[in-house]
């Protein structure tokens, strides 16, 4: 199964991926070079800098712009021309989540279908019900001006009459249901599928069942169906799977940009006990303008205490806590993303893997430590590190409440060779000059 044991709480890859999708509002910047490996190295390499160059149907171009996009993302520059090329080419693409893969293949599917044909032409599978819904939303939004293109969801609970053929040109779903729809219920004629998309391959193969079902779906497709496979990571196992389902592929990869602390201003505040930290936090709020903040506590109990006190002061606070079900977490994250709550209080364990690049202030109410009480540098970096310059500066503030935690700050400074500046939150002028 796809469960990793970690700090006593399990981390589910599909869940992580979903929460990341939910919290994200914009593209993740990545300045690395895209690596391209063409099936036919002699053919010219196309990349586009604008959506116009793709010669999309006008309704579709409108749809793309209507989503607020201005130009293709790094990975899209290369992936889009390959996916839209004639004759069709297979593609394996890997880049970290948030770099525009979903938008890319959604565009490819919408561009690929012939709306006049009332049968399923594009099939897309994703690891979970929720992820399939997310993709569907993108397709619906992007296809807003293409009223003749219809979309069906092959997900649990979506019961269909046996034997009637679907008229929707695009079907998106989870492997189990899609397999049933193709074989058992015969709602889809797999031989008529001309584009097959497999999203989040790494998450997919972490579950044996999904992996097998995907392969069984794949086997029914015709040989000249265009195959597209996407993954956020590329371990050997993903690679072997990809080669199995995508013959003669073009391959593009965009290496994850390393997180750095370069664009983050780091501070520490000396406090005595938690009440003191709380006051410091209020002072920070008085002098900084932040759209949203994320505050990390060591224990659930502390997180709960902090949430209560912030709420009492009139702040809109969301608490992301370990015992919540994934639906509840998703709801909390979505509310936070939509600005209903502007402060998210959490413990590290339940937010591990969540990308908080969008948040401009991160507060370590408790410093991240490992089991031996030493600085947990990796967690620190993950909490406050950013990839590249994304236009917004970020701030990180560490609350120091003992000699021991001061030692941890020093360890972190040494480890990253970056200064963490002392901040006196009762000194307005100093705060404003340091944090502007």
């Amino acid at each position: 199964g796809g469960w990793k044991r970690d700090g006593g709480e399990r981390v589910d890859l599909a869940e992580q991926s979903l929460l990341n999708k939910l919290i994200r509002r914009s593209l993740v910047r990545n300045r690395n070079q895209v690596e391209v490996l063409q099936r036919d190295p002699t053919s010219p390499l196309y990349s586009v800098k604008t959506f116009e160059e793709l010669r999309l149907k006008p309704e579709l171009l409108k749809g793309v712009y209507n989503m607020g996009f201005n130009r293709p993302s790094r990975i899209q520059e290369n992936a889009l021309p390959m996916m839209l090329a004639q004759p069709p080419q297979n593609l394996i693409a890997q880049s970290q989540s948030g770099t525009g893969k979903t938008a890319a293949f959604s565009l490819a599917m919408l561009s690929h279908v012939n709306p006049a044909n009332k049968w399923t032409q594009c099939l897309c599978i994703a690891p979970t019900y929720e992820l399939a819904l997310q993709i569907g939303q993108v397709i619906e939004q992007m296809g807003k001006f293409c009223p003749d293109v219809k979309l069906a969801y092959g997900i649990r609970g979506n019961r269909m009459e046996r034997g009637t053929k679907l008229q929707e040109q695009i079907v998106i779903g989870t492997p189990g249901t899609i397999l049933d729809w193709c074989t058992k219920y015969k709602l889809i004629d797999p031989k008529k599928i001309t584009m097959f998309v497999l999203d989040e391959a790494d998450v997919m193969i972490a579950t044996q069942g999904h992996r097998d079902q995907s392969i069984r779906i794949h086997r029914q497709l015709s040989k000249d169906c265009q195959m597209l496979l996407f993954s956020a990571t590329f371990e050997d196992s993903v690679w072997r799977f990809a080669e199995q389902v995508v013959p003669d592929p073009n391959i593009i990869r965009l290496k994850r940009e390393e997180e750095t602390l370069d664009t983050i201003k780091q501070f520490y505040v000396v406090c005595r006990e938690k009440e003191d930290k709380f006051t410091a936090l209020c002072n920070l709020y008085g002098s900084l303008t932040i759209a949203q903040a994320m505050i990390f506590c060591h224990t659930r109990k502390m997180a709960a205490w902090l949430t209560t006190n912030l709420t009492k002061e009139g702040h809109q606070v969301a608490l992301l806590s370990g015992e919540m079900l994934v639906e509840q977490r998703a709801a909390v994250i979505e509310r936070f993303r939509n600005g209903k709550e502007k402060v998210l209080v959490t413990t590290n364990v339940c937010s591990r893997g969540i990308d908080v690049e969008q948040v401009s202030l991160v507060v370590n109410f408790d410093l991240p430590v490992d089991l031996d009480g030493n600085a947990d540098n990796e967690t620190y970096l993950h909490r406050i590190g950013r990839t590249g310059r994304f236009g917004r500066r970020g701030f990180a503030v560490n609350m120091v409440d003992s000699k021991h935690s001061m030692d941890i700050i020093n360890q972190i400074e040494m480890h990253f060779n970056r200064r963490i500046t002392k901040l006196d939150t009762s000194n307005l002028e100093e705060m404003e000059s340091l944090m502007s």
Partner: protein
Amino acid sequence: QRKGLQNSAEDSTLKWYKELQDSAAQCAQSFEQLNSPKDAQFGFTSLLWTQTKKLKLELQKAATIPVSQISSNSGSQLREIFDKIHKLLSGQAVVSAGRSVSTSQHPQGLDFVCYKLAEKFVKQGEEEVASHHEAAFPIAVVASGVWELHPRVGTFILAHLHKKCPYAVPHYLPPMKEGTPVEEYQRILGYRVDDSGVEGQDSFLKRMSGMIRLYAAMIQLRWPYGSKQGIVYSLFGRSFVVYPPLPRSSGTSRSESRLALVGSDAQHGAAGRHHITATLLFDFLEVCGNALMRQYQVQFWKLILLLKDEYFPRIEAVTSSGQMGSVIRLKQFLEVRYSER
């Protein structure tokens, strides 16, 4: 053709703009003097100074924290926030983070609070509305309520807004003068410039959109109430300008009631800036276009018509294809919104 029609108005706009900036600068200076401990020259830090510093922090917190707590979450909460700010501005004691504070504790207390509060509203637009467009209305509700009762805050809101977002000032941004360093000019256009260079296009547009949306929401909210707000009609200048109605503030001349959104212009060597115009027009019209339409009916419609017939062909001709997104979004929006007429 006659070009003179707008010129005199531009002059008065600039005058008004300058008055606003001056009054804000004056205010900032008045409490600036209180920052530096005069006694320090004599080698000691006075108790008074320490107290003033503390008081300033508490006043600033009392003014700005409520603004940062505004969310679309609840209407009754907005009322509470508004009441808190109103109390503070009325010289009453308010409790913030467990401490009681009042502007009457210092002669410059009220000035300081008005200034910081206004600044905070604008910053909230720049930061928060930028990434959550929906946040514009709840913030505008509070801001325009405060503006109504405390016009001085309104003056400073405009001053801060104009400073951070030159597109909210109803005049054409000057063309780049020869010899002006590019970075300096970028700064005039509203870009952030620091050691690491000029801010990226996306981040810049996001901030400007945030402020314009907040501004548009304030205009629209102030609309139906009272006699205080001046209203100025929307118009084209040499390219496109919308002069929305505007709440009046005391202390400056009458012409202050004129605000405008100026789309930047083709004839001023501004090619390459049309995506800014298009983006901000879209932001502006999405928030308060309907209200303008209701108010000015056919006269508003004539503007839209001019946009469609004269403006789009021009900017489409000069906008590079990589920046067409904003133009197409605006066009699309106008088509949908105003096709039913």
